[in-house]
Amino acid sequence: MPASLRVLRRRIRSTKNIAQITKAMEMVAASRIAKAQARVQAARPYSDEFTHVLTTAAKAGANDHPLLEAREEPSRAGVLVVTSDRGLCGGYNANVLREAERVMRELSDDGKEPSLFVIGGKGVAYFRFRNREMSGQWTGFSEVPDYANAAHAADTLTACFLTGGDETVQRPSDDDGQGSGGSGEGSGEGSEGGSSRAASFVPPEDAEGLDGVDELHVVFTAFTSVASQSVTSRQIAPLVLEEEESGDEEQSSSDPEERQAEYEFEPEPEVLFDRLMPKYLRARVFAALLDAAASESAARQRAMKAATDNANDLVENLTREANQARQAQITQEISEIVGGANALAE
């Protein structure tokens, strides 16, 4: 006789409960995707325009800024890994972490020491369990990130980047606000550039004492559509100038080279770039967070749909088994009764 009826009924009940929960999570994730997707799209003009402006400015000859120029012999590279806070989203985190490991291995092979920055509880837990040192970690906003979260993380990265690979971040002391907080090895400018940078950018408190970096990379899951997300790693600083395609250049109809030659900057390019750089990194990190949030919801929706389907299959099979067991029980009872009646009749 198969498993007893009582046990089977209990399993059916609990599997149904699980299906209900996963179904609810699937619906929540599905509604989040739509919202997250709308945010990704709404935020796109800003980062597109920003990249356009920076590209233009760079072409117009502001090339010696640390944001734009790769440093000679980079010794350390920052890697920002964007994971989720909660699990139950299939391979989402595993994929990001695998890519992050690959990027870091590659950087080490190139002689650059990777410096880890992690967003999301799952990534933090992963690296902590492996006793890997993290330069920065932020959690609690992976599903609905807002700009302040991105700004906070990005400012730490900016501080490390401006400091440069061979030094640690120093905060300007309180009594002189014009301290050299932003200037450092690799900025390649005199004290004047340093003080203006410090005036427009003060490193956040938790950046103090961190090792500087010469490059910044970000590993996140890019959201292309509900059906397709892909783990992506990008270098965000120094800026890799992307050749603009003529298709997305709507505003300038005539020859772009000619147009850019006559650009005017206010204030002068070096100072302007000092002001734009923190904002640029914030925009890039924010865009990555929004993409990651949409991807996370999509991954969770898929995982929960699979879980619900599996649970329903299981319920179906268990119900068959339970029916069989019930039939067997009834048959047995009848044959017992018949047997008993026959015995009495003789």
């Binding site: 709404a42 003009p45 402006v53 233009t56 700009y147 505003q251 850019q260 650009y263 206010e266």
Partner: protein, 132 residues
């Protein structure tokens, strides 16, 4: 009359876009007025400032812009801002409250000064006098 394509783009969304005859803003170096056909330029705006736009069709309006910058080409002006609010979205009473609180003093000098500047920009954009 000549016109240009103007857009105010915030981090989270594009706030406004359309045709306009005139844009004025305050950069870190001073006030600037932009007419169609201006020389291409990129300028950093005041940390908390007001931008005025005269659309081709409709009344001129203001917007409070925080942490922004301008990108100008001959036929377009784009204001990029970390945070921007159109005048009709601004809660005047809340801004006034905030200004009072910020100017009432606090522990952290830098923060309250920035908050006061933000509140002032909001009030000016909404057409109120911050000092009244």
């Amino acid at each position: 009359m000549a016109e240009m394509e103007v857009a105010i783009v915030g981090v989270e969304k594009r706030l406004w876009s359309g045709q306009a005859n005139f844009v004025s803003a305050r950069t870190v170096e001073g006030d600037i007025g932009l007419l169609p056909g201006h020389q291409p330029m990129i300028a950093a705006l005041d940390e908390a400032g007001v931008v005025r736009i005269d659309p081709t069709d409709g009344e001129p309006f203001h917007a409070a812009v925080f942490g922004g910058f301008l990108s100008v080409t001959a036929e377009s002006v784009t204001v990029l801002a970390e945070l921007a609010e159109l005048a009709n979205e601004i809660d005047v009473a809340a801004a006034r409250d905030e200004l009072q609180r910020a100017e009432g003093g606090g522990d952290d000098h830098d923060d309250t000064a920035a908050a006061a500047a933000r509140a002032r920009a909001r009030l000016r954009a909404a057409g109120e006098n911050p000092d009244r």
